[in-house]
């Protein structure tokens, strides 16, 4: 398994270089360093000297991919792409264009993002699975049909509607929770209860339908029939046999998400005033802050790759038939 992990990590390097290359190309296709300088300087009258000074102090005076003024290996290494990419691989994200340390900001914003994403994910997972099992228990009944109709309805409505409706109902009309905001420490829960509840509810439709289909596929298999033939109750059948064997396809979709929970949710964080990472990238794109954009894209790609590796490892953990060293 160790060899497998090492191999996967080595494969990740060209993927990350590719992601980085595409990020550089796309960003600079839309924003030239001069545009970035103008946006950052925020002066009403920007002179060429001011632009040049800004580019020099931020390292954007170097060519993007090929340095024709250098010779030998320096033609490639003395470029913005190589210099910045090397730092990224060392996990040195550098400074944002406003002078703030990106690593410091990411560390600070990561926790509020997790505070909202992790409970939403865990409660959502448990709720979706529990409801899916309940529906499978009563499959073919009126409850099954009604739940599927409701699930499709939940899926069809925009998440933004749930957020605004939730804020209006629970904060504005019923006055139960603050409409938005954030506090660290124990006070945090007052601010998280509504976004988490909305997050869980908004994910119910898709989640329940997906898990239901997984469980329905399992419930007709021979081992279930055998267990039933032995006289097991339906509940024991569902929780003791069906759930454990249905975990494998669930893991495929779930484990890969776990590392990306750090990245936060843009809309949820914006509307609830959660100071997380969700809006960090979007704000940076709007501000033409390439330092943050490249760091967040790189981090996103890295976390996704980690998620995929974790998924593979979880297969081996939950299914003894899967072995990487064979």
């Amino acid at each position: 398994m160790l060899a497998y992990m090492v191999r996967r990590l080595i494969y990740a390097v060209p993927i990350l270089i590719g992601v980085n290359l595409i990020t550089f190309a796309l960003f600079f296709m839309v924003n030239t360093p001069d545009d970035m300088a103008r946006a950052q300087l925020e002066a009403k009258q920007t002179t060429p000297e001011m632009i040049q000074a800004w580019k020099q102090s931020h390292g954007y005076d170097k060519p993007l991919f090929v340095n024709n003024e250098s010779s030998g290996l320096d033609t490639v290494t003395e470029t913005l792409f190589v210099q910045e990419s090397l730092k990224l691989f060392m996990l040195d994200f550098g400074q944002a264009d406003n002078g703030r340390q990106i690593s410091e900001d990411i560390q600070e914003r990561m926790w509020p993002s997790l505070a909202i994403a992790l409970p939403t994910f865990l409660i959502g997972l448990v709720t979706n699975i529990a409801l899916a099992l309940l529906i499978v228990l009563f499959r073919g009944s009126v409850l099954d049909t009604a739940t599927m109709i409701v699930a499709v309805a939940i899926m069809s409505i925009s998440g933004l509607f749930y957020i605004i409706a939730g804020q209006v109902l629970f904060s504005k009309m019923l006055h139960w929770v603050p409409i938005s905001g954030y506090e660290s420490g124990w006070e945090m829960w007052r601010f998280l209860i509504l976004p988490v509840a909305i997050g869980v509810f908004a994910g119910l439709g898709a989640g329940v339908r997906w898990y239901r289909s997984i469980f329905l596929e399992e419930i007709n298999k021979d081992y279930i029939r055998t267990a039933r033939a032995k006289g097991l109750s339906e509940i024991r059948l569902l929780f003791g046999h069906l759930l454990q064997n249905g975990l494998l396809p669930i893991l495929t979709g779930v484990v890969v998400i776990i590392p990306t929970l750090f990245m936060g949710s843009l809309i949820m964080e914006s509307f609830f005033g959660i100071p997380g990472l969700g809006s960090y990238t979007i704000d940076a794109i709007n501000a033409q802050d390439f330092g943050i954009v490249k760091a967040m894209v790189f981090l996103g790609a890295l976390l996704y790759i980690i998620g995929l590796i974790l998924t593979d490892l979880s297969y081996a953990f939950f299914d003894p038939r899967v072995r990487f060293d064979q």
Binding site: M50, F138, Q167, I179, Y182, N220, F239, G273
Partner: protein, 758 residues
């Protein structure tokens, strides 16, 4: 694969009940003492003399050498004190000393530095002398902290000390010192260093004697703080700890306005030495995040990702509430606090609020003391009369909400590129084409449709409230308007059509009989902009002109404007200072983008020698009848030439609760927080009354859940019993199905979606 059966979990109505009860209790225990659950801050904070405000975009730079955005100045103007400030009430906008004992004294000098009369033709320089008050001290800061031997405690922080702090105030000791003239000159020297990216360096290099040479010298390699302190700018001189002077080229009365801006705020060298430590830079602690000033407040917490907190400067004792200058039409209660020491509020908390919906609802709940009005909430808050007057709706009035509206010193316009072969040029035909379009584009309609009446149609480049603005029977834009009993009324469309025909485009057709096609460049590309762009198209269609929209991203749009590759475009300008020069220079020839390699502000490339000559005169004149007459001539000239469709001056609308006092609109002043006052007890009372939780739905919800659990459990038990009864028959069927499946393995024993054997 068959796995081991897990522990059996059965439904329990009791369990669900206790769970719900526990959740309810948990909710109740988290509530405040006064029974309010949804307050976004603590009860204690609500009861204190703390103002709650918000920010949508975190400020990028708080270093006064660099900062230029409104959201940045909203913070640093409370902390820093340049030499001058605008009087809170007086109109027209009036400068007054802030840290000075009197207004700066001027001396006029010839090229050899000899003093001359103000009116002398030989005047080559103006020298301003500043005399500082001697009772002004910086707010407490770790940069000033010294030990018993007088050595600085924190100018060389250890790793351990760094590990323990998240902000400068976390360091146990702090200090202060008196404001000195050297602090002001240090700020000017910092401005000259190109690596500090001061947005006004280009302007000041031309203005302050010796600054260009100094800038070139000090920008080559980084200076130590000692070198920076010891270096000097030729035109900037320190005479004593309380007296310094600045010498500028020529006569430029507007220079005093620059001295009310934060670029000229004092910088203590101790702060530079303190923040230069790499360990602090790594922690995002710098002059860009934690300013050090002499103003009424200090920035104690700055988390741009969450909240910022200004706290009263305990050493501030040189400001008092104004006792005069209130316009006659204003509420006289605004002078009730006259003479009281400032600031009147102890603390200001800015909370991150990115979306307008929660912001507006929190304001209505009483959790924010003031709010703007977004287009989403406009109809709920403001009613517009048939005359276009704004007032509060009855819902707002019942809540005791107050309302303040003011025309901003801003102009938005639709520009013609005067370098364009079709719409540009100064001959009669091109001028008539522009005048016809100017009549057709109905800005009053635009203001009504897209701004809910929050704006005033422009008559020329100068906004209301700025010296030189006129709108009366004798002085209005008679090219576009005609005077009526209700003021200027847009000329009829027939006159526009007549002008268009005289321009060589009868019914909007070219001499070849084709429809005249014009191109409008805009960075507005979102769905919201579509209706506005369609509106522009319709305005020109009234004359038979076809308008082609060329929407692009902001960078490309700017590039096109800088390269004069546009025909029509929208642009705007917000006043730096309340002087007509700051607007008339938008049409000055030397500022035309084609004459300045793209760095000028005259995007329409208007370049009339007569106008340019008058502008040079107006620029140097003090306000008075002579200047007014010249401004009138300049405005008349551009009204005739019509290089812009004179757009609009927006109106700001702000709402505030009745416990928030002394609020007055002063768009030029940014340091006005110190004048505001709060009645915290009244605020808490209203918050309690407006936010009592509605509890009954919790119990209904609990009952509903319990009621739904019982039938499910019953149904399940019934099914289990049925399974036992029907098992024998079912087994027989299944055995037969299994035999059949041996012959045809692809047929499944049961389709998915069917229930358990019942």
């Amino acid at each position: 694969m068959l796995s081991r059966p897990g522990r059996l979990q059965t439904f329990s109505v009791k369990g669900v009940f206790w769970l719900l009860l526990a959740l309810t209790l948990l909710t109740l225990t988290g509530c405040s003492e006064d029974g309010v659950w949804n307050r976004p801050y603590s009860d204690e904070q609500a009861r204190t003399n703390t103002l709650f405000s918000n920010f949508a975009t975190p400020p990028k730079h708080l270093d006064p050498v660099r900062s230029y955005s409104a959201n940045e100045w909203a913070i640093i103007s409370q902390v820093y004190e340049p030499p001058l400030q605008y009087h809170y009430f007086k109109r027209p906008y009036t400068l007054e000393p802030l840290t000075l004992t009197q207004m700066p004294q001027q001396r006029f000098l010839d090229a050899q530095g000899r003093e001359r009369e103000a009116t002398s033709e030989d005047v080559a320089m103006t020298e301003y002398h500043f005399h500082l008050r001697d009772d002004i001290r910086y707010h407490p800061h770790a940069a000033f902290a010294r030990d018993a031997q007088g050595r600085f405690l924190y100018h060389a922080l250890s790793e351990q000390q760094l590990d323990r702090i998240k902000r400068p105030a976390d360091l146990p000791e702090s200090g202060t010192r008196r404001l000195k003239a050297q602090d002001y000159t240090l700020a000017i020297k910092r401005m000259a260093i190109t690596a500090n990216h001061s947005p006004i360096l280009g302007t000041m290099r031309e203005l302050i004697v010796g600054l260009a040479d100094y800038s070139d010298r000090v920008s080559k390699k980084p200076l130590t703080i000692k070198q920076l302190r010891e270096s000097s700018v030729k035109g900037v001189e320190v005479h004593s700890d309380t007296h310094f002077s600045i010498r500028i080229h020529g006569r430029y009365p507007q220079f005093l306005y620059w001295l009310s801006m934060n670029f000229f705020a004092p910088i203590p060298w101790e702060a530079l030495a303190f923040y230069r430590q790499p360990g602090l830079v790594k922690k995002n602690l710098s002059l860009d995040t934690y300013p050090v000033g002499t103003g009424a407040y200090q920035l104690l917490d700055n988390n741009p990702n969450r909240q910022m907190r200004l706290v009263r400067n305990p050493h501030y004792q040189h400001g008092t509430y104004p006792t005069e200058g209130l316009p006659d039409e204003a509420d006289p209660d605004l002078l009730a606090d006259g003479g009281k020491p400032l600031p009147l509020i102890d603390e200001v908390v800015y909370l991150l609020e990115k979306e307008s919906v929660p912001l507006w609802n929190k304001f209505l709940q009483g959790y924010y003391d003031a709010s703007g009005v977004s287009s989403d909430s406009f109809d709920q808050a403001i009613s517009v009369s048939s005359q276009g007057d704004l007032s509060l709706t009855s819902e707002m009035q019942q809540k005791g909400i107050q309302f303040l509206s003011a025309v901003e010193p801003t102009v938005f316009y639709l520009g013609f590129n005067m370098d364009d072969p079709v719409v540009g040029g100064y001959d009669k035909t091109a001028r008539k084409l522009r005048q016809a379009i100017s009549i057709a584009v109905d800005m009053e309609e635009y203001i009504s449709i897209f701004l809910n009446g929050r704006g005033v149609a422009a008559q020329g480049p100068i906004p209301p409230g700025i010296y030189g603005y006129e709108r009366n029977r004798d002085h209005f834009n008679d090219v576009i308007y005609q005077w009526s009993d209700h003021g200027p009324v847009r000329r009829p469309l027939d006159e526009a059509r007549q002008l268009l025909a005289e321009a060589g485009y009868p019914d909007g057709k070219t001499p070849e009989g084709e429809p005249l096609t014009l191109y409008y460049d805009t960075p507005a590309t979102g769905p919201d902009a579509k209706s506005q762009l369609n509106w522009y198209r319709k305005q020109l269609a009234k004359l038979g002109i076809e308008l082609v929209i060329r929407a692009t991203d902001y960078n490309r749009f700017q590039e096109k404007v800088r390269g004069a590759k546009v025909q029509l475009f929208s642009w705007g300008w917000n006043a730096d200072y309340p002087d007509p020069e700051n607007f008339l220079f938008l049409l000055s020839g030397d500022q035309a983008v084609i004459n300045s390699n793209g760095s000028g502000v005259n995007a329409s490339n208007y370049d009339r020698p007569q106008f340019n000559q008058w502008f040079q005169q107006v620029k140097r004149m003090p306000n008075g009848p002579e200047r007014q007459a010249l401004i009138r001539k300049m405005v008349k000239l551009v009204q005739e030439d019509a290089p812009w469709v004179w757009g609009l001056h927006p109106k700001s609308v702000s709402l505030f609760h009745d416990w928030y006092r002394n609020v007055w609109a002063n768009p030029m002043a940014n340091n006005t927080l110190k004048y505001h006052r709060l009645e915290a007890a009244k605020r808490v009372e209203k918050q309690q009354a407006w936010n009592q939780p509605v509890v009954w739905p919790l119990w209904v919800l609990a009952l509903l859940i319990m009621a739904s659990v019982y039938p499910l459990v019953s149904a399940y038990r019934r099914r289990q019993r049925q399974t036992l009864v029907g098992n024998t028959a079912q087994n027989a069927v299944q055995n037969r199905a299994a035999d059949e499946s041996k012959a045809a393995p692809s047929t499944s024993s049961r389709k998915s979606g069917e229930g358990p054997s019942c």
